[in-house]
């Protein structure tokens, strides 16, 4: 292992909803170095999506313990936009619609903030078209309202357009594969693979192994009941696919039985 600092380090993270007693994330640890692709798998309700939102700074959760270091800085007190400008990106499981706001207007603003620059509309339009094209989205999307009237697949592809445009150093993909047909899955995966580089890392959150056939992870983690219970290489995903989550659960039950 090199001596460089991790890109992301989650230490003993505990998260709950403000009105509830029980924690959703219960002492989670995760370390990601630059250039790595991690897959985070787990059954529904294991806390995967909560982790994604907490990393990005969603205001609806309460962190009761632990730290999240991104590029060496504890980011838990930072606003979501501060984190985005540092190069953190979340591809949403359910992207939000913003009626009346065109993709071009929205992303021009995002682009200017991310790169701390001013860009003329016409110039930005050209940049945007390249990224749309990469994800095989028609140029006409530039003038359409954000996510409004998009199919599920279009929404997911548009998330990756944004990822491609904003060049984050850490991308968290929250169940980007759900609701995608095989063609769309290939397009999305190609988009992500095209972004892979020694400087860039990905955390691919998924319920199924399928997307990992296209985006090969360096590490696979299994999350159950708010913490990572097992980590391994790509083969772990295949094992899961074969044996199901009950396998991990029963192993876990066995391991923790008195």
């Amino acid at each position: 292992m090199t001596e460089k600092t991790p890109l992301l380090e989650v230490r003993n993270l505990w998260v709950k909803l403000p009105d509830e007693e029980d924690a959703i994330i219960r002492g989670l640890n995760l370390t990601i170095y630059s250039g790595e692709v991690h897959a985070l798998m787990g059954p529904n309700g294991s806390g995967k999506s909560t982790l994604a939102k907490v990393l990005s700074g969603h205001p609806g959760y309460e962190v009761t313990d632990g730290e999240v270091l991104f590029r060496g800085e504890n980011i838990l007190e930072l606003e979501p936009d501060d984190r985005a400008r540092m190069g953190l990106f979340l591809a949403f499981q359910y992207p939000m619609e913003v009626p009346g706001v065109t993709i071009a207007n929205f992303l021009r603003l995002a682009y200017q903030r991310r790169f701390d620059t001013e860009v003329k509309y016409t110039e930005f339009y050209k940049i945007l078209l390249q990224h749309l094209k990469k994800l095989e989205m028609d140029a006409s999307f530039a003038g359409r309202p954000v996510n409004e009237g998009f199919s599920g697949g279009e929404k997911k592809r548009f998330e990756i357009v944004q990822l491609s445009l904003l060049e984050p150093v850490l991308s968290v993909l929250d169940e980007t594969d759900s609701g995608l047909d095989i063609d769309a899955l290939k397009i999305v995966s190609n988009g992500v693979n095209g972004m892979r580089s020694p400087e860039r890392s990905f955390l691919v959150i998924t319920h199924y192994q399928r997307i990992l056939n296209y985006i090969t992870p360096d590490y696979v983690h299994v999350m159950v009941e708010g913490r990572i219970v097992r980590s391994g290489g790509p083969e772990l995903a295949l094992q899961l696919e074969e044996k199901g989550y009950d396998w991990v659960r029963s192993e876990l039950a066995g391991a923790t039985a008195p």
Binding site: R83, F92, V98, P99, G100, V101, A110, R113, Q162
Partner: protein
């Protein structure tokens, strides 16, 4: 009563529009409204007898009508504190150089002369009670278009004025129409001859300068058969934190096959009571469009109306209201279907922020015989804060069987999820909120000439500034 909190909310408004000039008016009536004040106004204007009698009759109607109790709270409006007529200058300019310097500076600061040069067919500028500048580009004058202030019209086009004045909105229509009819001054008179298309907008700008002033302009627009005109008005006032009153009457006659679009961007300071009656009559196959944006004022009551008089007439009302802290925007529209095969649509969009309240109030009335009338009403309200309020009062009266009426109302809150989504892309929280609001009013912005759309967006941005703690 001083309201420092309102001032603070409006710091930017104070800087941009809230200044006032220390000009000495050449004449003003005493505070409060009496028969003598009405006579004095008529006398100052050297009016014909018929107008003087019209005013005095209207005064009696005003005095006899109770304050409307069905709408927003008007209890702080004190008719005795208002100055009903303030004449800032003796002359009216046809070039800006002829306008007295202090007044011209005001309009310079507001950018009006620049706008005129760039993209308007004509401009009228009213300062307190009188129109201080009026000009129409020569090419339109040559085509027989008339665009003058209404006082001038009474003198120079008496027959036209007499034929139409007070026919669309008679003084007994409501208390504030009666008030306007009694003390009206200024406003625009527009006449577009048959078949003439004035394809760039005419604009009027209304500025209240004096404290406790009342501004009562009277606008009359006549579009002859097959004519087209787009009339735009804007308005601002200094911030005094004392009540001022703006109560206009706008009457529009849209003859067969004609089309009139009337756009308002109302941005009065937050001490102005804005109680306005606007109505159009639309004849066969004509189109009347009201685009009504209300951003300023303490209280606005305004329901632009279209009476659809003959088959094929169409009325479109697009109303956008922004109610910030302490503001009540009670707006909407009325469509009266008085002939078969007439169509109309009311689209209302409101945004309530802080303690602001936006009410939609609308009337759709289908008279007997107006079969195959088609009408659609859509109300969207956006709430930005927990304390913000919205309500709808849709009145629908249908006296005919074969009609199609649709009504939809939606209230939405800006969701944390939406803001989080935009923030997660690097937008600051207030940028995210502003973007969501600008998207919400996009249907209005789309209807405006580009320069106005930009102005509207800028105003919304100002309103949104500092909205995030």
């Amino acid at each position: 009563m001083a309201q420092p909190d309102i001032l603070n909310l409006d710091q930017d408004y104070t800087q941009k529009y809230g200044f006032h000039d220390d000009i000495q008016p050449v004449f003003q009536t005493e505070r409060g409204l009496t028969r003598r004040v009405v006579e004095e106004i008529s006398h100052q204007k050297n009016e014909p007898k018929w107008m003087r009698e019209f005013r005095l009759q209207a005064y009696e109607i005003f005095m006899s009508k109770p304050m409307p109790a069905w709408g927003p709270d008007l209890s702080r409006l004190d008719f005795d504190e208002i100055v009903y007529y303030i004449k800032p200058t003796d002359r009216q300019g046809r070039s800006w150089d002829e306008v007295p310097d202090e007044i011209k500076q005001t309009f310079d600061r507001l950018g009006i002369p620049e706008w005129e040069r760039k993209f308007l067919a004509g401009v009228g500028a009213q300062y307190d009670s009188e129109v201080v500048y009026h000009n129409l580009a020569k090419q339109w004058e040559e085509k027989g278009v008339i665009f003058v202030d209404t006082d001038t019209a009474v003198r120079e086009y008496p027959d036209l004025v007499k034929e139409y004045f007070g026919t669309v909105i008679p003084p007994n229509d409501n208390k504030f129409a009666a008030l306007n009819s009694a003390v009206w001054s200024g406003g625009s008179f527009v006449y577009v001859p048959a078949g003439v298309h004035v394809d760039i907008p005419l604009q009027a700008y209304f500025r209240i300068n004096a404290k406790n002033a009342g501004q009562f302009e009277r606008t009359l627009i006549i579009a002859e058969e097959g004519a087209f005109v787009h009339y735009v008005e804007g308005c601002t006032a200094p911030v005094y934190a004392e009540e001022a009153l703006h109560s206009a009457v706008v009457e529009i006659i849209v003859k067969r096959g004609a089309r009139v679009r009337y756009t308002t961007i109302q941005n009065w300071s937050r001490d102005v009571y804005n109680l306005v009656t606007k109505r159009a009559v639309a004849y066969g196959d004509s189109v009347m469009e009201w685009v009504d944006g209300n951003i300023g004022s303490r209280v606005t009551q305004k329901y632009p109306s279209v009476y659809l008089m003959e088959p094929g007439a169409r009325g479109e009302i697009l109303s956008v209201a922004f109610a910030g802290d302490g503001q009540h925007q009670d707006t909407g529209g009325k469509l009266i279907f008085a002939a078969p095969h007439t169509t109309g649509r009311i689209t209302s969009k409101s945004i309530s922020k802080g303690t602001g309240r936006a009410s939609y109030r609308g009337l759709v009335q289908v008279l007997e015989g107006a079969h195959h009338a088609k009408c659609n009403v859509e109300c969207d309200a956006l709430l930005l804060d927990e304390d913000a309020k919205t309500d709808t009062y849709p009145y629908i009266e249908v006296n005919e069987k074969q009609v199609t009426i649709g009504h939809e109302a939606r209230v939405s809150k800006v969701s944390d999820e939406q803001i989080f989504y935009l923030q997660s892309r690097g937008l600051k929280k207030d940028e995210a909120l502003t973007l969501i609001v600008s998207g919400f009013i996009e249907p209005l912005a789309k209807q405006l000439p580009m320069e106005y759309a930009v102005e509207l967006n800028r105003l919304i941005e100002l309103e949104m500034e500092g909205s995030v703690g």
